[in-house]
Point group: C2
Chain length 331, copies 2
């Protein structure tokens, strides 16, 4: 097995976030799933956009956000995801390349347009996401560069993208490629609804030993295990994946790796402005530490620092110098 060329190759949605602050009443008025992620069709996306205040466009996508964080921490990263040949596609491609992530999945001609996520941010900083998947859901298995996947220490997969059929096939193939090359497979569960719809797939992958690192939050853990008790859920999954990272928002996070357990408190934040990307950036910090062979405590602490940075401002891409933040806090 040759030395890996990349620390991580990720497959995920290629999305531009369209973000606006809003009052709590609007969430109710529009019948949104407060704090969650809901898939919407083009008509509903138009309707929600029309109801939205003045917005900012900032590149997003769960795994892409994670890579932006990892690149900022110095990791070598490549992204695979599908944009359309349009202006938002160009924005997505620019922003991820500009942080030093390799991205060369060819843009897809014609309709649908590049994915966008309409994010309503309430005064408490909570984000309510409405995703129009657009081109993103048409990522074909042919978009995979198998040699590149085989050259990465970790293959990182975004659960959101397990839902549409074509990317799911691409990701299944990517898992095979990574495992044949002796690489690790990391998975983020993304959202409870993904587990509700595809939990059997995930449980089978775990049972087959195909997931080396799993990221879940407490809700996803409950959906995955059927256990309402956090610790019971942790014990159940930890028996099946070598590295489990379970986040609990303001209550911090725990990790269990090969039987060793560590915990971290949430990093204090002056004001939670926008929680979009908190989990993505937690994963960025943790995975970067893990790729470097850091202690489990330090991996968790890096995750908490990155998550704290992202929720202190609008948007899910880091603004501060994450490497400097980690250095300041952890030495």
């Amino acid at each position: 097995m040759s030395e890996p060329r990349y620390d991580v190759i990720a497959i995920g949605n290629a999305i531009v976030d369209v973000m606006a602050p809003c009052q709590d009443e609007l969430i109710e008025e529009l019948g949104l799933n407060r704090g969650g992620m809901t898939l919407v069709d083009a008509a509903r996306a138009e309707q929600l956009y029309a109801a939205m205040g003045p917005a900012k466009e900032i590149s997003g996508g769960s795994a892409a956000n994670t890579l932006a964080g990892m690149a900022a921490l110095g990791a070598q990263c490549g992204f695979i995801g599908q944009v359309a040949e349009d202006q938002l596609g160009a924005v997505f491609a620019h922003d991820i390349r500009a942080v030093g992530v390799d991205f060369d999945t060819p843009a897809r001609a014609g309709n649908p347009p590049t994915a966008r996520c309409l994010i309503f941010v309430t005064p408490d900083g909570e984000r309510t996401m409405n995703t129009f998947l657009g081109a993103s859901q048409f990522l074909p298995p042919t978009a995979l560069k198998e040699k590149v996947i085989a050259s990465a220490a970790i293959l990182y997969l975004e659960g959101y993208l397990w839902d549409p059929e074509e990317p799911r096939r691409a990701m299944r193939r990517a898992i095979e490629v990574a495992r044949e090359a002796g690489r690790k497979v990391a998975f983020t569960a993304s959202e409870s609804f993904v587990i509700d719809r595809h939990g059997d797939d995930f449980r089978a992958l775990m049972a087959e030993g195909k997931i080396d690192i799993l990221f879940v939050n407490e809700h996803e853990l409950a959906s995955l295990t059927g256990q309402s008790d956090f610790e019971a859920g942790v014990a159940q999954v930890a028996a099946q994946v070598p590295v489990l990272v379970a986040t609990r928002s303001a209550a911090g996070a725990i990790a269990i790796a090969h039987g060793e357990r560590a915990e971290v408190a949430a990093e204090p934040v002056e004001r939670v402005v926008d929680t979009t990307g908190a989990g993505d950036l937690f994963a960025a910090g943790f995975l970067t530490g893990h790729a470097r062979g850091e202690s489990l405590e330090r991996c968790l602490a890096m995750g908490a620092i990155c998550a704290a940075e992202i929720i202190s401002h609008y948007g899910a891409r880091p603004e501060a110098d994450l490497a400097a933040l980690v250095e300041d806090r952890l030495g």
Copy 2:
């Protein structure tokens, strides 16, 4: 003369700002005009975008920013400007309508795309703007709704748009329509290079008594009058326009209206994050006060408060509740 339906109708560039922080070295490396606005063609825009860090897209355009501020202060506003039929055009249209500004100039099919302004923001908060005018420069005189212009107390014109030929013809026509309807014409000089190229036009308009309210900064004033001394320039122009507003960045601003003079200091700001839109929002505060018949001092103070809000965050569209800020500070 009937009661005006609008406080202001503005004609300006319909632009989406593409903004990224950058280090001072990059400004030199790219040969940018630090602190200024430079028109760029499509090839240069591509080159600069490729050199730019991860960016945010936020609607901009000088006069459009002013209207966004005025609408936030409760003024009735309409905007006339040219976008293309593309995603950035839809973003621009959404954002200006979402703040309550009427905007129904039909999007233009085909090339070029919607205008964008690549804005590099250095650590001191100074913005260096590179504008690809795209569709904006093809605003045709037929886009004017003359009845609407005649129904607005003030016609507000953006000097930037005086440069391309087709919008200049449209603006000349709009001035005639406004004056025939007995309305006021307000002009912002926008940038010294506009004065350098079209100073004769502006001096002729002033001499003919066609400009009722003029906004300039000290550099534009010097270009317009040939006077390097600020007070000498002020005296020269004040003799020709009923209301003159001259801004001096951190040194505050002065206004002379019908012989009366008032001054305002710059509003203190905790940290200057991004100066983009400072002049636009100063104009928003001043014009809103002026439209309400407020004292000259209060008009200036409203301008200073709005400018301070805009430079305290990224982007040239207000984020805080401007009406509440004015109420808090001025009662």
